[in-house]
Symmetry: C2
Subunit: 330 residues, 2 copies
């Protein structure tokens, strides 16, 4: 395949699609030479068949939007929640998507599209996408969505961790006597500092997202909104601090659904960080707030998935060259 | 220097000393081909001059014990608390040692010993030593001494972090309404889960170390000792969990002064981990307790410092070869 690209298309025509399969939306970006040529989203379909069909459809749509054929793609990368074996292309326990067992998502989608498909955990993909978009090699992408968790790029490398638990910072207790978390512990960061928490604490009407409704009410001085926003911001700041005093990434990027609030999210988290550091010369000295950034692009999860496809292709091409050389000298 | 070694001594005569400058003891190990040939400890002297003199003396002593001359060493590695710039060989804010500014410790000790000296943060050195001793490439060395902090080897590489805050997990709040920590925050892990905490909670007489006295009293059923031990173990387990849900190292190695208790320390921490995970399928599923190990050798901090010296020497030798080649072809 490496040869096909080099001879028939030229490397500069190299098209890749990145897909992010989220709890509610499945998004695709078409990338060429690191530039986004098109992007689109559809509602996520649940279950193994639904996820595969939805991913295939969003790939076809984004290619259609750009006026190219799916067969013109070099490869597809898919970011998906759950425990991913990126070498095997399998995903396990993507509960949000209705996937409970281990599913060969890469092979299934590859068959459907007749293309190489690389699979990666969605937060890992997002961290890769954020690092590329920001031109950084050391960061945590803290996704504040239904849950709270991070993807880590440390010293230029994706940190997967040993148990697939790297970045699961949302399940550190924030208020040990707080309400029970879905994970079974009490008062986790996720119980206060997630989009899910805001949905529960601030039901809205007329299609206004809960974070927007809450932040509006808080800005208008509603005392209950202020209290909810404060607990939310404190919990997120707690997560940021936990990441810094363990992995110490250069930047913590605030992403996920709640990041659609824009820079006001960073503002309240920085304010909370100042509160945390108030009595602590140690914490003040770390200047954590200077390393808190908003996600540079809402689409970093799918952009990162496209990057995963590029890397997989590069590795496969290197492997093919290696095999070719071995063959010649045999 | 690389040439000297190869021609006059042969690589197998390569002697290195690793020094660990702790809050109370300064320890040296003499290492040859990865084997310990001698080790010794003296009381730590405070202040810049004291640290340099103490380190020089312990190097001389350990060489004397082994019947070799200091000049026979290829290099010395020093592990020291505080913020270390390992490239420059400087240390900043090693408050325990009475060092407040930035001190060129490497250059000073090098002048004193007339040898190359590499400097590394003591916990980083300990993590390197533990990884070598255990034959592991992914671990956190959790030092439970006066304070609580970790050194990290992730995917085979030392993780220093961006602000020098990597592994400062002792300053995560464990009981947010707890007593004030030296860092200025309230109820940090370090306030409950350190040797310093045990010293305060369980004063002993007759030279019995506080952890030993406390664990004896707890084993005898003393209810106050049981409560102190439980809070201590819970705090350490909290630190282990925080490391796992952020960096997710394969092994968390329990080290530091309190680790002299032996395997009973691991037992109480594993018990506390079971308590934490009791209501949480998520936490139980991570099986964190299976990855908790005791330090394989009390001397891993100085063993790691020796390893740092070896690595520095190898890097210098590679650089020298490079320069020699460049010279030849010029």
């Amino acid at each position: 395949m490496a040869q096909d690209v080099e001879t028939s298309q030229g490397a500069s025509k190299a098209w890749f699609v990145g897909v992010d399969v989220g709890g509610t939306k499945t998004e695709a970006v078409l990338v060429q030479d690191g530039e986004v040529r098109a992007s689109t989203r559809i509602a996520t379909r649940r279950g193994v068949g639904g996820v595969v069909e939805g991913a295939a459809e969003v790939v076809r749509r984004v290619c259609g939007d750009a006026g190219i054929a799916v067969a013109d793609l070099i490869g597809v990368g898919v970011g998906v929640p759950g425990v991913v074996d990126h070498a095997a292309g399998t995903v396990t326990r993507a509960v949000n998507l209705g996937i409970h067992d281990t599913v060969p998502l890469g092979a299934m989608l590859s068959r459907e599209l007749r293309l190489p498909v690389a699979v990666e955990n969605d937060l890992n993909a997002a961290a890769i996408g954020a690092a590329a978009a920001l031109g950084r090699s050391d960061l945590a992408y803290l996704s504040i969505g239904t849950g709270v968790a991070a993807g880590l790029i440390l010293d230029g490398r994706l940190r997967r961790g040993h148990r697939g638990a790297a970045g699961e910072v949302g399940h550190l207790p924030f208020r040990s006597q707080g309400p029970q978390c879905a994970c079974g512990q009490r008062g986790c960061i996720e119980v206060f500092g997630s989009g899910g928490a805001l949905d529960r604490a601030w039901p809205t009407r007329g299609g206004v997202p809960a974070p927007v409704g809450l932040f509006r009410a808080a800005a208008a001085g509603d005392p209950r909104a202020l209290a909810v926003r404060r607990a939310f911001a404190d919990a997120v700041a707690y997560a940021v601090r936990a990441l810094v005093v363990t992995c110490d990434p250069e930047v913590v990027v605030l992403g996920g659904g709640v990041a659609r609030l824009g820079v006001v999210l960073r503002d309240v988290v920085v304010e909370a960080m100042h509160r945390l550091a108030e009595g602590s010369p140690f914490l003040r000295g770390l200047r954590i707030e200077e390393g808190i950034a908003m996600t540079p692009d809402e689409r970093v999860p799918s952009l990162g998935a496209a990057q995963v496809a590029v890397s997989r292709w590069a590795a496969d091409a290197a492997g093919a060259r290696e095999a070719y050389r071995d063959e010649r000298w045999r």
